[in-house]
């Protein structure tokens, strides 16, 4: 009776397996990666609550059914859907239903030092840069990433030449533009050369009311002394399923900042993996999540300090209204060689709704002795005294709450360096608060 009992495959798993059947053959490395990912999904299926990394986001029960892979989007519809971050001065690339729409994308007149192509084009051309794909391998099977590896066909491939300072951000707008629920997969790669600096933004949106599934993965290879800023805004449709993975390989003396802002989707999970493989780097991962209704959002990070002298800072803020559920999991691993590591992780949740739930799991795994590492986690309602202070000055309750929520989220949003992007995010947060009242 002690034998392993293999769970019965759910309907969703069966449907996904059927779509994996079409994973193309071929002899190159990418094809091998795809087949390996498909195989690992076949073996492990969707994660459930007994899988530690997915303890609070039980995909097996949350993802009831798999939807077919989306077809090509109509250009006009994709254009109409892509609203987010439009006001920001940036080079815009639109990915609709998992495929780059060249008609809506700004692929010409590239700055010196910037090369930008589509994943599909890079594959067709056998571009050398694709050898960087799959460079960071999570220590444990990750269903979301495996499905992306197996099924993604398009995305962007960006290379920033060593020493190039690209002022204008590249903004990749992911949109779902289809009349029926479908699944879309996008895979992107950003290689930042030594000493270069670059700002990369991504946004996600789609129609409310359609239970579509978006899966995106972006890999960042950051060279020595490079400076990379990543900003992500997730406002998927209210019934959507959003799975995304960000992978970072961080070189020596570089600076990497990433900010994830989550407002949409019925179920969202964002996983960040960072491998610090060069000494004296600084990594700052920050995020804010604003949830209402019955939304579920999960931010999970893995930071692997492999070498000495790196610094990492994480600050995640979650605001939960109604009966929403927020999840934060963060793991800092400090290997034996990573002496003088300085790591700080903080997760704060503000609970507005009586039925809301917050699950925090910050972890430290430390094998080096000369380190300074810490994490903190708090969760609670708005401080009554602060509310009283504002109300005593004639500010109505809702407005007082909004002010305090704004201040709470502001601390994280302020870490975004690019002015235009930061202002756009602040505007989205204000819109969310206005929607509450």
């Amino acid at each position: 009776m002690n034998a392993d009992i293999r769970p019965i495959r759910t309907q969703a798993e069966q449907a996904i397996l059927a779509s994996l059947g079409s994973v193309a053959g071929g002899g190159d490395r990418l094809a091998d990666l795809r087949r390996a990912a498909a195989r690992s999904f076949e073996e492990n299926g969707l994660p459930h609550r007994r899988v530690e990394e997915w303890k609070y986001t039980d995909l097996r029960s949350l993802m009831r059914e798999a939807v077919p892979v989306a077809g090509t989007a109509a250009i006009a519809e994709a254009d109409a859907r892509a609203r987010l971050l439009r006001g920001v001065e940036a080079r815009r690339i639109v990915i609709a239903n998992g495929a780059v729409v060249p008609e809506l994308s700004d692929l010409a007149d590239l700055e010196e030092g910037l090369s930008l192509t589509t994943f599909a084009a890079a594959m067709a051309a056998g571009d050398e840069v694709l050898s960087r794909i799959g460079g960071i391998v999570p220590s444990r099977y990750d269903a979301s990433l495996a499905l992306n590896t197996a099924l993604a066909r398009d995305g962007v491939v960006i290379t920033v030449a060593p020493g190039a300072a690209i002022q204008r951000p590249v903004h990749v707008a992911h949109v779902f533009a289809s009349g029926t629920a479908a699944a879309m997969y996008a895979r992107s790669l950003v290689v930042v050369g030594a000493g270069a600096s670059f700002t990369f933004a991504e946004s996600f949106e789609g129609a409310d009311g359609l239970a579509y599934q978006a899966n995106s993965a972006t890999e960042f290879v950051v060279g020595d002394g490079a400076h990379l800023d990543v900003v992500r805004l997730q406002e998927e449709g209210a019934s959507a399923f959003h799975l995304s993975t960000l992978l970072f390989d961080v070189g020596r003396e570089s600076k990497v900042h990433a900010f994830t802002f989550g407002l949409g989707a019925a179920v969202a999970r964002t996983t960040l993996y960072a491998t610090l493989s060069g000494e004296d780097s600084h990594v700052g991962f920050n995020g804010a999540t604003l949830l209402k209704g019955r939304q579920h959002a999960d931010s999970t990070l893995f930071l692997d300090h492999q070498v000495a002298g790196c610094e990492s800072r994480e600050l995640f803020k979650t605001v939960l209204d109604d009966s929403a559920r927020g999840v934060f999991q963060g793991k800092i691993v400090v290997r034996q060689a990573a002496q003088k590591t300085d790591g700080r992780m903080m997760s704060r949740a503000l609970v507005l709704g009586d039925e809301a739930e917050m699950d925090n799991k910050p972890e430290l795994e430390i094998f080096a002795d000369d380190v300074q590492c810490g994490h903190g986690a708090t969760c609670g309602a708005i401080d009554d005294e602060l509310l009283f202070y504002l109300r005593a000055r004639g500010i109505p309750l809702k407005e007082a709450q909004s002010l305090l929520v704004q201040a709470f989220v502001g601390e994280a949003v302020e870490t975004v360096e690019h002015d235009g992007l930061r202002e756009a995010l602040v505007e989205r947060a204000e819109a969310w608060l206005a929607g509450r009242a």
């Binding site: 739930e357 917050m358 972890e363 430290l364 986690a377 708090t378």
Partner: protein, 490 residues
Amino acid sequence: MPAVQETVDQVRSLDVDQYKYGFFTEIETEKAPKGLSEDTVRFISAKKNEPEWMLEWRLEAFRRWLTMREPDWARVSYPPIDYQDLYYYSAPKRPSELSIDDIDPEILATYEKLGIPLRERDALLGIASGGTKVAVDAVFDSVSVATTFKEELSKAGVIFMPISEAVREYPELVKKYLGSVVPVTDNYFATLNSAVFSDGSFVYVPKGVRCPMELSTYFRINERNTGQFERTLIIADAGAYVSYLEGCTAPMRDENQLHAAVVELVALDDAEIKYSTVQNWYPGDKDGKGGIFNFVTKRGDCRGDRSKISWTQVETGSAITWKYPSCILRGDNSQGEFYSIAISNGRQQVDSGTKMIHLGKNTSSRIISKGIAAGYSDNTYRGLVTAHRKATGARNFTNCDSLLIGDKCGAHTVPYIESKNSSAQFEHEATTSKISDDQLFYCRQRGLDPEEATALIVNGFVKDVLQQLPMEFAVEAQKLIAVSLEGSVG
């Protein structure tokens, strides 16, 4: 700072890798046949003259255990345990009518050597020399060999006796509470314990009684190849207070020995239970050979309103520690506390922490955990704080700090913090660092050698927890910490 001086003296007087309780007592014993089967369970039950219901309870647990899997989620690794290669019952031979003078003098000598006087006369002498009166239940391998101050306690109405006697004498109480906090089906090791537990302490403090002295159990594993499975059940009735201490040691052996205990605490309205442990099982030698596998389930149930349960533990021994003393805060306004010092050296592996389960309204809990890892050891804090939907006004504060001494050891923190209602307020902080060079420099500048300086700084690091221990235990624990860290500096 006399205590510090004492620590330093203690460190000096010992060689590296010395476990001072590692001796073995040669006595005649009676054992159950090797291995585990229904017959073993029946044998133990028969040995204890247990009523039918108790045997049924055990058998049910045993059948359940056969269907369970050993948990593997903890950050510990050990060779598979052969459950058929163990003795589940080992007892010193003794006459059936028990009085202190009938106890094998060897056993008395053993406890004396451990610093635990079993003769009340001797214990009272302790008072003259300034100590406090402590009632002791001494458990040797599978059975309780002596319980002191029984009479004085019974005057106050406190029942303090081996659980095997309680099963016969107070079956109603045992039936009502046994397995009510840690159910038979709780986990692999608790279920095994339910099937084969041989002895342990039973405490009942009646309504409104403040237990007149500290109660204590001293566990000693002596026999080779035996597992110790004790079961402790403490009930504090409405308004009662009891403080309970637990100590453990075992001989040095090359093979690993299994210890799987279950402790259940029940606090009714306004009651308070303070449970302190100094765990110093044999940790194995410096290469990780031998040592005790300590798989313990400890849980307290704050069943009544305004009740309080406080766990304090100093964990220095065992090759493997797998232990999560928990509190179920069921009553409104109840409180749970967990203070822990876990020290690992050599090849020890510690995976310990707590669970605070907030169910009642306005419940509060506090967790202070100090982990110190040295040598090649791994030290993990694993804890859960959760507030139920209806647990409005729940409060928790958690602080876990880890200190690393040496670059071959690991310190890990795995907290789970789950809040299911808006009025719960949880705060958690954790840090990991090494002894700072500044502190060491400061101490050395004032003439302390590195070992003295380390002992001083470590004592400061764990002070918050040591303060929670009863006085005489605190001094003991302080010495123990210094000894545990022996050989880790330099």
